[in-house]
Amino acid sequence: MPDKLITEPVSKLPDFFGEQNRCLCNKELYHFFNPFSLYCNMASLPQIAIPGQRLGPLSKYSAGPGTHVQDSFIHASIAGPVVTDAAQPKIQPKPTLRVSRVISAQDLQPQNAGASDGAKFKPRYNTLPAVESNVLARVTRVQKRQATVSILVVLDESEHLTSSQTASDNDNVASILTSAANPENHSGTDELRFQALIRKEDVRAVEKDRVVMDEMFRVGDIVRGSVISLGDQSFYYITTARNDLGVVMARSEAGNMMFPISWKEMRDPVTGTGEPRKVARPF
């Protein structure tokens, strides 16, 4: 039997938004939002939005991710906490309203960031790769003119904007890569991931004509790249032509995890042999 049955007779429908706000205050989760309330000092804004909920007028805010505009009002289009990004002079005169897609512990409880609950909490990344978004991808095939990769994760833009400490990014990468290195995680799921190409001329910014793909990537490497185009029906296009882009994690031929020693070489700590790679600058 269901543990709870909810109903409302049609004759007396509750006020839609009033009900939402009341039920929020009734729940114990209110205290979660206290650190958060410094973003939401405008009294009219709800703390949690559900799709279709009216958030604020377009005259006061500009619409960010997770929202849409209807009749000059910003409405939520996904369910999640409402975040107000402060106005930036010159670029963005009005504060931006957005609905957070990934509910990260860091977003909600700044004082507890990096606590041990990071292991049990697994955010679901279902953001799509967009132009200029940074992605982590595994190399699946290396050819003469291009390398095929499958995108493991799209690094969240908002995380970069809101995180004050750069260390968090590194932690993030580490957690992603350890999960990606787990063999049962990626057996036959490449079909379910977005595929992308790194063309030979997009590997690095200098000496593009001297690039030998075999000396840049090997199958199984984890690459940080930036999306340059949504591409055709099956592939995105990715570039690694920046210092902070390239191979972030690789195994040697002996199968050991290697560490970077220069922008074009990684070394096996056990055998001591070096292998050529287009290495991303470590943070």
Binding site: I6, V10, I50, S77, P81, R124, L128, Q195
Partner: protein, 317 residues
């Protein structure tokens, strides 16, 4: 198309035999279920999201069993339940890349599958989707397509799968087939599917214009005599097993924040109905308005369920 890959049960189903004497007996074993609710009162809805961890979004929806079904369960007089109540599980997979063979699409490609479990209805269903299940899938896709902001997800696909665990009856099981028969139960199933799918889509964080919910209204006539005075009445959220004949029914998928209908399915003869005095609407309009009211009611449950699911994920964070 015959299903050659499985050992199927007998196509006619495996119902226990019902003897004519049982229907005439006074034990109440074979009594038609009676509607205990007001004409505008909906059945209670249980709706919860996130029950299937491997899917990017999921939901489970259940309608409250009718009073007679609840009574029959606690004190069974017959092997045959008097009515049934809808149970639906919905999973959303995606957004995920389109298959290699698919053409480029700048929008989200929505695919909906509605499948009855073999045991969902009184008549056994096969493992392959039949015409009515595919029909439901198309109706559901229309309902959801109007709510999803498809251009936010280029080059990706979204698979929505609904499993009907228990379906609604098309009529009371003891009734002889008559001219008013149609698959009325399917309309309730569609309304439930729309609400469940909307919750699962919200759980998967797919951009939507609004939470879209489904509602059913019907013109029913409970009078056994065929006299002219038996005018059909408008009722919301009908259980077809509770009524002698349903003349017309309407399902809508409705977005309350925008006051928009994304899908409408009207069946039967809606020309004559007894509306309240002073009601100038045609019975056709009244039927649609009734379905919208039912959808509004379902939406209160839907928005609660989505809020709960967000609160739960925040509590986990």
């Amino acid at each position: 198309m015959a299903d050659r890959r499985r050992v199927n049960g007998p196509p006619g189903g495996t119902r226990p035999p019902v003897f004519a004497s049982l229907q005439e007996s006074t034990t109440g074993a074979a009594q038609r279920a009676q509607r205990q609710r007001q004409p505008a009162e909906l059945r209670k809805i249980f709706l919860k999201t996130g029950l299937i961890p491997t899917a990017s979004g999921s939901s489970y929806l259940e309608f409250e069993p009718s009073a007679s079904l609840a009574a029959a369960r606690s004190n069974p007089k017959s092997l045959i339940p008097p009515s049934s109540a809808l149970k639906v599980a919905c999973t959303v997979h995606g957004p995920k890349p389109l298959p290699r063979s698919a053409a480029f699409s700048p929008n989200l490609v929505l695919t909906t599958h509605v499948k009855y479990a073999p045991f969902a209805a009184r008549k056994r269903r096969g493992h392959i989707r039949d015409a009515s299940e595919r029909d439901l899938g198309v109706h559901l896709e229309t309902a959801l397509r109007g709510a999803i902001i498809a251009e936010r997800w280029p080059k990706s696909g979204l698979d929505i799968t609904l499993t009907i665990i228990e379906a609604e009856d098309d009529r009371w099981w003891g009734d002889a087939p008559d001219s008013h028969d149609a698959s009325w139960g399917m309309m309730n199933v569609l309304a439930g599917c729309i609400t469940a799918a909307s919750a699962a889509i919200a759980d998967a964080h797919i951009d939507c214009l609004d939470l879209v919910s489904g509602g059913v209204a019907a013109l029913v006539s409970d009078d056994s005599s065929k006299s002219a005075s038996s005018v059909p009445r408008l009722m919301l959220d009908v259980d077809p097993a509770e009524h002698r004949s349903i003349l017309s029914a309407c399902v809508v998928a409705y977005m309350p924040a925008r006051d928009e209908i994304t899908e409408i399915w009207l069946k039967g003869d809606s020309s004559k109905a007894a509306l309240e005095k002073g009601d100038v609407r045609s019975s056709h309009e009244a039927l649609i308005d009734g379905a919208v009211d039912a959808a509004r009611g379902a939406n209160t449950v839907l928005s609660e369920a989505v809020t709960e699911s967000i609160a739960r994920s925040i509590a986990q964070a």
